[in-house]
Amino acid sequence: MSGADAENAQSYVLLQIGERRFALPASEVSELAPPVRLHQFPHNSPLVSGIIVRRGRLVPVYDVCPLLTGKNSPTHQFYLVARRHFGSASEPAAIPVNGDSELVTADTVQVTSPAYVSGRLMHGGESIEVLDLDRLVAFESREKNQVDYAELNS
């Protein structure tokens, strides 16, 4: 990495979801939580699998594994707690990951597709997608709502 590249480089948390690795900007990540209890209750919100409690706060869990890998989430998972933005407000949001996370500094190249990927970074010879959490969960909600609408009208 050149000196100029190092100046532009940012920190990312690499996380494992199913059998794939993704990245999130480290500035958006609060903590990696152990496999704590997932509290569930009736609701109609797509993607939200329940609530975990971290430091006295109730954190919604978004099950993004099926969307990103096409497979169901493994059991006994850790939770990566990041922030989801709603206009000028934000709230903590957790996504299930396995325990193998690492902090790296890397450059990214921007990509435009899929919509929930903001860029790619190279690490250890591997090209890793950088997730945009806000777009990811909004994308899934929109897709689910469209499916529901289609089912209603079929």
């Binding site: 209750f41 009736p42 609701h43 109609n44 609530i51 709603f86 709230e91």
Partner: protein, 175 residues
Amino acid sequence: MKIAAQDAVKARKARRPETVILFNVSNQLFAIAADSVQEIRSTDSLGAALEIEQQEILKVRHTIERGHRTYYVVNACAHFGLRVVRPTLVLMLRQIRVAVLVDKIERMAEISGLHALPRAFLGAERQWYRGLAYLEDQVIPVVSPLGFLTSQEFQRLDGATAEASRRDLERAAQI
């Protein structure tokens, strides 16, 4: 400042201790403010419940008359989209013409405050719940009494009840 003062009031209000009734529906625990429940009865004592003829709001099948008021009986399993089991108790709500069929009452408890429902939840649950309680390592949704039936649903049910009464009167007149 006005806004900050309003926020402080809201925060104090949200953290006010509250007595709730913990109840079970299809093996799912819920809470409801104790002061929003007027009476708890066994379903066996509801022999006078009248069947209501309407197909639009499937969670309501019966009405109960109490103090010259018609209460609509909402099946909580159907309301929350849970597996329907045979209810044993009915919660008659205060200040709203709704009675709720539930499986059993767990107990009463005091919660130290209500957590706002996270914005991640964007479906009907925003009407169903006032918020969430964290009690003895459990996250429990605190139901909103006003969330069981919307004003439009009340209108439809009142219309169906009035129509049924009119037909009964016509039948009685023919006899």
